[in-house]
Symmetry: C2
Subunit: 262 residues, 2 copies
């Protein structure tokens, strides 16, 4: 498995490359992450870099009710097709960036730790096999939600608004490519709030697998490199106090850490 | 008022420029439409060009229940804040491009004629006055909907899916800048199906005005140049038979014509 990151270096330049988790060294690459990236002879200590969101999606497709445990807890039947909303590109932030409370909103803000699928190829109408090949890798997602807005209007569930605010899609720290030691089927999503574990659920409880999601969603809309599908969350969602830190960890990917700014 | 268009010329090159409606001539511009475009000495007869969607939004924000007449007909209270969903960039097509029925869907496909606001400046947390200045212009929108999917799942209204398919956001034919003869307050949206009028509603029946929409939405999320807000539709929505043509016309902007491909 390879860990791909985007970063800003000490001089302020933005780049991307691969992170060696043992040595902590980053090898800068040139070209494009999703189109024949080539290693350069420039490398950095990861500690000297500011990590950015590892990709810049044209859209983030966020699933609801995609885990059997949560569907049982909510007493909602598992869906026949992925149920989703779309989060806008400007909602994306990277590791260690602050989640900002909307000025207009004083209600509860919820964390949702999730697996994120990162698309590597333009794909439309894909079979499950083709979809598997279109998956570049996986990252951690905190799908932040202004939860009290969701049902504020009795006639219209405000999924896009409650999840679409600037800074409400935390991505990172890295994109791990599948194979060579990383298999989502054996991983858990672990979410901690101020260091206390709140979510710890197995990814193999997923209703629609990553390749099934990519295949089914690609029947609806063309997916392009860098797009992210947030696979939905499971039980243990809760709210973040102002100033509190949320860590979303998936073994093999890393830990995505973000604070809700005071 | 100026009519901005994007086009492909006979040689296959993509460009943008201004259309003189009397002479039918297009003056190609260089630079960027939203950042100090400069006229070139190249011009074309509009008839020799293929019109494209007049902008390439990073997101399309589509409002629901934004006209008093429709809210009365639906017996839903006017909302306190714009109710919206997000349509992905790949859903956008231009004038005369075909709407494509999703292979997976045999149900009714609805037209919705709407006014589209095109954003000209990056804007966040804008006052209504600042929002007014961030509006580059207006275009026609056909907000196409796979209407039978919307309530297919009893637990989750599928707004993003039913409206997010490739080719389900028709934009054009031009973006008209406000002032000098164009005022949305005095215009109607007229939608015809196979030449028969189905919608004809005044824009001044809008619940949230364009500047109010831009101001309120910009409190939630940063809007960027080229983004489109579809202002919602009013009464007269209906379904399109395969092969039928829908024309959305707004006096001063033009007519947006699209066929649902057989």
């Amino acid at each position: 498995m390879t860990h791909w990151i985007r970063f800003r270096n000490a001089g302020g330049s933005i780049g991307f490359g691969t992170l060696d988790q043992h040595s902590g060294r980053v090898v800068q690459h040139e070209g494009a992450m999703f189109d024949r990236p080539r290693p350069t002879d420039i490398s950095f200590a990861a500690d000297d870099l500011t990590l950015l969101a590892p990709c810049q999606p044209s859209k983030v497709i966020a699933l609801w009710n995609n885990y059997y445990a949560l569907s049982q807890k909510l007493d909602k039947a598992p869906p026949q097709h992925p149920l989703f909303l779309i989060k806008p590109p400007m909602s994306v932030i990277g590791p260690n960036e602050s989640i900002r409370r909307p000025k207009s909103y004083q209600g509860k803000i919820a964390y949702e730790g999730e697996l994120g699928i990162v698309i590597g190829k333009t794909v439309s109408g894909a079979s499950v096999e083709e979809a598997e090949e279109a998956i570049f890798g996986y990252t951690c997602v905190n799908d932040v939600t202004a939860i009290e807005l969701l049902q504020q209007d009795p006639n219209f569930a405000q999924w896009c608004r409650s999840k679409g605010f600037d800074t409400f899609t935390c991505l990172g720290p890295a994109i791990v490519t599948p194979g060579n030691g990383f298999d989502w089927r054996t991983a858990n999503v672990v979410t901690t709030l101020e260091g206390v574990e709140r979510q710890n659920y197995p990814l193999d409880d997923m209703i629609f697998s990553p390749a099934e999601q990519v295949s089914m969603l690609s029947q609806d809309m063309t997916l392009v490199p860098g797009d992210v599908i947030a696979c939905g969350t499971s039980i243990g969602v809760g709210s973040i106090k102002d100033g509190a830190r949320v860590d979303v960890s998936i073994a093999g990917i890393g830990t995505l850490s973000n604070v809700l700014a005071v």
